[in-house]
């Protein structure tokens, strides 16, 4: 697996993290 592919995978994860970090969905168990 090339570093380029790894970089794409990491940036994909960043986008998913961004979706979660930007969300205000109700999680009533303290978070």
């Amino acid at each position: 697996m090339s570093s380029f592919t790894i970089r794409a995978a990491l940036m994909g994860l960043v986008v998913l993290a961004l979706a979660l970090a930007s969300s205000a969905g109700a999680v009533t168990t303290g978070g």
């Binding site: 592919t5 995978a9 970090a21 969300s23 205000a24 969905g25 999680v27 009533t28 303290g30 978070g31």
Partner: protein
């Protein structure tokens, strides 16, 4: 969580099936360290490691609100440094986050949530056993902008269904659209792999397109 992540995964699959390239995702997301720190803060708050902390009870929701707010410049900077149609997904996500922040900051740093939606997502048990830190409050007569609050329950058949807001749906839609656009757009040149960066949100971190 499914509604937040599912569309992005589906967008990736659709992009690949329609002839796109996974390597299109190698474009640097400006401000990615901010995202990592933000998700870490939210995760730590959600873990509720210090349930008896008075500080968390009084200020924890503001820490969460500020970590949420820190994502807005990330979205806007990425919109600014992207040309053409690729800018639209970032703007959609920015609008969604702005709606979330608006309702949170006008309600004292808490996200209002509808009781009926909590019940539909089987989270009533947690209401009966509240922890000291909370980032949401039930909608009542004093709630401002209830239509922008968490009023959209995920289908109960999904694993760990949550209650979402209109803003959440826009964020999810925007970022899923960006994934589809990135996968379908021209590839990033391998020579631009680890381009020098001028800063966390610097324009120079954007690799050139082939």
């Amino acid at each position: 969580m499914f509604v937040l992540v599912g569309p992005s995964v589906a967008a990736l699959a659709l992009g690949l099936l329609s002839g796109g390239s996974f390597r299109g995702l190698a474009r640097t997301i400006a401000g990615w360290p901010v995202v990592v720190v933000g998700i870490a803060i939210e995760w730590l708050l959600a873990k509720n490691l210090y349930p008896d902390s008075a500080w968390l009870a009084n200020w924890g929701h503001w820490a969460w609100a500020l970590s949420l707010a820190a994502m807005l410049p990330v979205l806007l900077v990425n919109a600014r440094r992207t040309d053409g149609l690729g800018r639209v997904p970032w703007l959609i996500a920015s609008l969604g986050l702005t709606l979330n922040l608006t309702v949170i900051f006008t309600n004292g740093g808490y996200m209002p949530v509808e009781l009926k939606a909590i019940e539909e997502t089987h989270q009533t048990e947690s209401l009966a056993n509240p922890t000291r830190f909370r980032r949401d409050v039930l909608i009542n007569a004093d709630t401002l902008l209830p239509l922008l609050s968490d009023i959209l329950p995920e289908p109960a058949f999904l694993p760990s269904p949550k209650v979402l807001s209109v803003g959440d749906v826009l964020v999810s839609t925007g970022l899923a659209s960006w994934i589809f656009w990135a996968v379908r757009a021209r590839r990033v040149r391998p020579s631009d792999d680890f381009a020098p960066q001028s800063g966390v949100l610097g324009r120079d971190s954007q690799p050139r397109l082939a």
